[in-house]
Symmetry: C2
Subunit: 167 residues, 2 copies
C-alpha cells in the first residue's frame, strides 16, 4: 500500500524531486474533495425526501436563521455567486419554499423570504441533522475542533496571495 516514488524521480530528469506532483493518496486536497463528495452522498437520501439538493438545503439553513435575505447576502454567507444562486432560488421558489420580491427601497436587490411551507420544513428537517451527526460518529468537541482547522485552512486559501500566480 505504501508506494515509493524514488524510481519516478529518476526517469524525469529535468524536474527536481520536489517539483513532481505527489501521488494521489498523499494529497490533502484530494482528501477534502473526496470527503465533500462523501458528505453529499450521505445527505442525498435524506434530502431527497423533501425534494431538496444540498446547496438548496444550505440556502434554507441560512434563511431559517435570518428569515429574509437578499441574493447577495446569501451568496456572501455560502460563498456562491448569482450565477449559481439565481436559478437555484428560482427552483426553491417553484417548489414553494421561498418567495422572491424586488426590494422597494433598492430595486436592484431581490428579497428572498421563507414561505410558510419553507418555515414548516425546519421542524421536519431536524431528522437530517441527527442522521448526519450519527453518520459522522464523533463527539461534538471533535467535530468543532476539526471544523476550526478546516475554517482556518479555508481562510488561508481565500487570501489572494499574489505570489501564487507564477505568471
Amino acid at each position: 500500500m505504501t508506494k515509493r516514488r524514488a524510481d519516478r524521480t529518476e526517469t524525469t530528469a529535468q524536474a527536481v524531486s520536489l517539483s513532481i506532483p505527489l501521488p494521489l493518496e498523499d494529497q490533502l486536497c484530494f482528501a477534502v474533495y473526496s470527503l465533500s463528495h462523501a458528505f453529499n452522498r450521505t445527505y442525498k437520501p435524506l434530502l431527497d425526501r423533501f425534494g431538496l439538493t444540498y446547496p438548496q438545503y444550505l440556502v434554507l439553513l441560512a434563511l431559517w436563521e435570518h428569515r429574509v435575505m437578499t441574493v447577495k447576502q446569501i451568496g456572501d454567507q455560502l460563498g456562491l455567486d448569482s450565477g449559481t444562486l439565481s436559478p437555484l432560488l428560482k427552483r426553491l421558489d417553484a417548489a414553494g419554499f421561498v418567495s422572491r420580491t424586488r426590494d422597494r427601497k433598492d430595486e436592484r436587490q431581490v428579497n428572498i423570504a421563507l414561505t410558510e411551507k419553507g418555515e414548516a420544513l425546519q421542524a421536519e428537517a431536524g431528522h437530517v441533522q441527527t442522521a448526519i451527526g450519527s453518520a459522522i460518529g464523533c463527539s461534538n468537541d471533535e467535530a468543532h475542533a476539526l471544523k476550526a482547522v478546516l475554517d482556518a485552512l479555508t481562510e488561508r486559501l481565500s487570501q489572494p496571495k499574489d505570489p501564487l500566480i507564477v505568471g
Copy 2:
C-alpha cells in the same frame, strides 16, 4: 458574531431543541464544502495555464502513477462514475493528453493511456504542487495528520449504515 438560538427553539413548538437544524456556521459539512471550493479556486489559476480542470488534473495524477488504467480503475480511485468520466476523458483525449483504446482481451473495457504530451506535462505541473503547498501553509506533518482525519471520516460516511435511511 456568536449567535444564540434559544429564541428559535421556542417559536417552533413541535420540534425538540436537538432536532432543529444547527446554524450554518456550526456545521462541519459546510466547512468541508467551503474548503473544497476554496481549494478549487486556488487550483484554477494554476491549472488554467494548461487548460486543465481540477478533476482532469486528478485523472492525470492517477495516470502519472499507473501509466495505463481502465475507466473503471480511474473511477474507483477518484470515486467517480462513467457518467462523469466518459465525457471528461473525451476532453482529455481531444486535448491530446491521453489516448483511449478498447481492450483486446475484454472489449467492454477502454484503456486510458498517457500520450507523450500527457507524460511531458508531469514535469511542468510540478509548480502546481509547490504553489498549493505554500498556499496551504502548514508543515507536511500537519497536512498528513489532517488528511488522516479526513480520510477516516470519508471512510465512515461511505459505509452504508442502513439506519441512516429513516424511511
